[in-house]
Amino acid sequence: MAIMLDSRHRIDRVKLIDDDPEVRALYKYSVEDLELFPEEISGPIGDAGTLIETFDSAADAAICDYNLKSKNYANTDGSVVVSKLYSRNVPAVLCTRWAGHVSDQIRYWRRRIPVVLSPNELNPETLLSAFEVCAKEFGGGFSDFRRPWRAMVRVESAEDAGGGHIRLNLVIPSWKSSVGLSYVVPPQPGAVLQDICRRAMVGEVVRSFGQVNLGVESDEDVYIDDWTM
């Protein structure tokens, strides 16, 4: 059976991406209860690009774990996979227990990760709702707490976060002027972010701009995208 999310998006199959086969088997329950076809991605899946190629953007969706690298299952994180699927208009939900702990790490990708579910939240209703949110965003429809606004971002400092990553410590005054946020930049970001990282690493306070979901309440869900100077 298929589910029509809106006039343009249909789902027949949900691919299940997790390095633990037992967890993949458990994801199936919610998918089956929606009477969709679950397909386990048993891996190894290599890089995200290769995996994305196997998706049919007209009929596929995905549930994806965050930690994919611990068992030689993938060489990338679930945040990268979900974000790339989103870019290709494939509805995808990140399912992790670590939302709070990894919010700094996934903030860079978060603009393209509309929904993060914890395992105890995953059920047929929340899953369908998450896919609907994705489909809506593909069409430019955002909820208040996901809608992007241009906002000034003040980068106060930067430090090496290991593995070629740089951690930026920043404040978004038009969101909450007294809350510091961290933002982990992966290796080889765009030219603007590269410049910001370089300057912040030598102690400069950098004032830049980005697309920020200013309506969000929790700092865990803040995203910053489309950086400009």
Partner: protein, 691 residues
């Protein structure tokens, strides 16, 4: 021809009694030794009204007892002991009393003596002897006073001897009673794990106090355990053991003159055990020691020293307070670093009373006659301690050599520069400069040494933290995720599949229980991981109240799981300082953990932790108190030492971290062992930037 014989003036009784055995504890110990020689299993010493003259002492045992002939021909005969040490008693004991002189000293403590004895196997008759010392004063010679031994019917059964010393000539002070308690407890080797077949009980509050102290046995907390033995062939072996008894080093003791020659000691066969504690102020480094330094010091003050046991009975004065018969303190003064003193060690020497080089005790019970064999025994013991000192010195040298090799080359180069610069100074002040620089170097080395120890402590801590975080990550990642997904699937499917409401409830109830248990499990991991988040280690503006709120929220499920509630009483201000969130969290997390552990340890019924804040000038004062049992450790200052813990599985690091962290933040921490809620109260003073 006129026949004559020696006769003795009654004054001789005072000479031999009071003047040979001066101390009360030593005299009473002699009566107890008589009980041991009579194969008693128990001996009870009772003191009645002894703090004033006229009191009474009763020594009763359940030994073999005596018939009238034995009382007359042995007990009353002074100076001739039938107790040859090579003739064992029926229980195989080597007789400990000697010559009857010790007994006389005890008997002379009172104006009168009443002796009652019931012989083992003939319990129907009790024999009684009364001595009234006043009668001797009027007599010309001792033999003029006739003593009657009466026999009566004994209806109580039993056997043994009861000696009453009545109308004591002088009072016995509390200190003397303590000394007596110590002597009685140490009389038969209390150091081994096995209970002796001879129990001595003193009925006095001082005894219970000393007894509870001796039961503590801190041997496992010793830093070194030296074990040495000299055999009947005179060859000596020595070994150093760790707390589990694993051998760290061993050797045969060589002659001092020719190091390769094994020395043959003309000493009685002996076993020597010494437990040595490093208790100096520079040894506050991490150790796995369970007991506090103060507790160990108190124990060593009471029982420390090297005691000698001949045929399982202690020989005084070796190991008495102030008795340094092995000259340990002198050796330590010469080389303080690697030598134990009488205050930092406890030990025993076990020897046989019979044999080729047997030692003989002096008549006045002031130790052994210091003949060649005694001096050889002493040499063996001192050589064993020397061996340990050499071993420790070698290890310390090796460590120092390694430290020197590890010292940064830049520092060495700088030192050369300073040395060269000093040489340029006028000769008159060169020496002063050299001395000053050398003093500086020493203090810097000491500081560096302290820092190295701190680093070791924190490495241990970090490893514990990393392990906990890894474990949390593993358990959170997959197993808990699986449980949560499965429970969630059940919650969705049960209402669809099960038609009737009562049946649904029957299934959803347990699902809800699974969810609740999983949440508790997840809290533990979340808490661990939350505390190790890298971002929290940055220096930034940290609000005291928000940090406390976050931490309490994080720990609340864990605390509730232990039936503990938090009570917050924050002031209206918003104090903050520039520090890291991790530092501030570590202070309160450790204090809360400490309270939770105290509740668990004491099995407390009311469990509440109260956290209150207030502003005092430019300081914020955070008080953390609990309703636990409070702190009993003495001295109280020991709670801050690393490794000191009252809990079997405790690390003893929590409060050390609290102290160090608060100090690093420029604050201070005070403790009241018993606060307003009944448990400990910690007050932390933070120098704030604003509120």
């Amino acid at each position: 021809m006129t026949k004559a014989s020696f006769r003795f003036s009654p004054k001789i009784l005072a000479r031999l009694g009071e003047e040979l055995n001066q101390s009360a504890d030593q005299s009473i110990s002699e009566l107890v030794k008589n009980a041991y020689d009579a194969d008693a299993k128990e001996c009870v010493v009772e003191l009645a009204n002894v703090t004033l003259p006229g009191g009474r002492i009763v020594v009763a045992d359940n030994g073999d007892g005596m018939d009238p002939e034995t009382i007359r021909d042995r007990w009353l005969v002074l100076g001739r002991s039938s107790k040859a040490t090579d003739v064992r008693t029926n229980l195989g004991r080597a007789p400990a009393g000697s010559k009857g002189l010790g007994r006389l000293a005890a008997l002379r403590m009172g104006e009168r003596v009443v002796l009652n004895s019931v012989q083992r196997g003939i319990s129907r008759r009790m024999h009684e002897l009364k001595i009234n010392w006043v009668e001797f004063e009027g007599a010309n010679v001792v033999e003029d006073v006739e003593l009657d031994i009466t026999s009566t019917k004994n209806v109580k059964g039993g056997h043994g001897t009861r000696t009453q010393l009545i109308d004591l000539k002088r009072s016995i002070t509390s200190d003397e009673i303590k000394r007596l308690a110590r002597s009685l407890l140490l009389l038969t080797d209390p150091f081994s794990d096995e209970q002796s077949g001879f129990q001595v009980k003193l009925i006095a509050p001082e005894f219970e106090e000393v007894e509870s102290l001796i039961r503590k046995k801190y041997f496992q907390d010793a830093d070194f355990h030296l074990h040495a033995e000299v055999g009947v062939d005179g060859r000596a072996k020595v070994q150093l053991l760790d707390w589990r008894g694993e051998i760290l080093a061993k050797d045969e003791i060589a002659s001092k003159a020719v190091k390769k020659d094994v020395r043959i000691y003309k000493s009685p066969a002996a076993k020597f055990d010494a437990w040595i504690f490093l208790l100096g102020s520079d040894t506050n480094s991490f150790s796995a020691r369970k007991a506090g330094k103060g507790e160990i010091q108190e124990w060593l003050r009471a029982f420390g020293g090297i005691h000698v046991y001949q045929d399982e009975i202690r020989v005084t004065p070796y190991g008495n307070p102030g008795n340094d018969w092995l000259e340990m303190n002198l050796s330590r003064a010469k080389n303080p670093e690697e030598r134990p003193s009488t205050n930092t060690s406890i030990g025993r020497v076990q020897i046989q009373g019979a044999g080729k080089h047997a030692l003989v005790q002096k008549t006045d019970r002031s130790g052994f006659i210091e003949d060649e064999h005694f001096l050889e025994l002493k040499a063996f013991l001192q050589d064993s301690l020397d061996w340990l000192a050499r071993w420790r010195l070698k290890v310390a040298e090796k460590r120092r050599a390694q430290d020197r090799a590890d010292a940064p080359k830049a520092a060495a180069a700088q030192k050369n520069k300073v040395d060269a610069a000093i040489l340029l100074a006028p000769p008159a002040i060169q020496k002063k400069l050299i001395d000053a620089f050398s003093g500086y170097e020493k203090s810097r080395d000491k500081e560096a040494d302290g820092l190295r120890k701190e680093i070791q402590l924190y490495r241990t801590l970090s490893t514990a933290g990393i392990t906990a975080a890894t474990f949390s990550h593993e358990s959170q990642g997959n197993p808990i995720k699986r449980i949560e997904l499965a429970a969630s699937a059940l919650k969705t499917r049960v209402p669809r599949i099960v038609k009737t409401e009562p049946d649904r409830v029957k299934l959803l109830g347990p699902v809800s229980d699974i969810e609740s248990a999983t949440r508790s499990l997840a809290t533990l991991g979340n808490a661990t991981l939350s505390l190790v988040r890298g971002a929290k280690r940055r220096l930034e503006k940290v609000g005291i109240h928000p940090t406390l709120d976050q931490l309490l929220t994080l720990m609340e499920p864990f605390a509730l799981g232990m039936s503990t509630t938090f009570e917050k009483q924050f002031c209206t201000a918003s104090p903050y300082m520039r520090t890291s969130q991790a530092a501030m969290e570590s202070i309160f997390a450790n204090l809360i953990n400490n309270s939770l552990a105290a509740f668990e340890h004491a099995g407390a019924s009311e469990r509440m932790i109260k956290i209150s804040t207030q502003i005092e000038g430019d300081m914020a004062v955070v008080s953390v108190s609990d309703s636990g049992p409070g702190i009993t450790l003495k001295p109280l200052s020991d709670i801050w030492l690393p490794g000191v813990t009252g809990k079997a599985e405790g690390t003893g690091l929590g409060l050390t971290i609290v102290r160090d962290t608060v100090k690093d933040m420029g604050g201070r921490v005070d403790v009241e062992p018993v606060g307003p809620l009944g448990g400990a109260l910690f007050r932390i003073y933070f120098p704030i930037m604003g509120s």
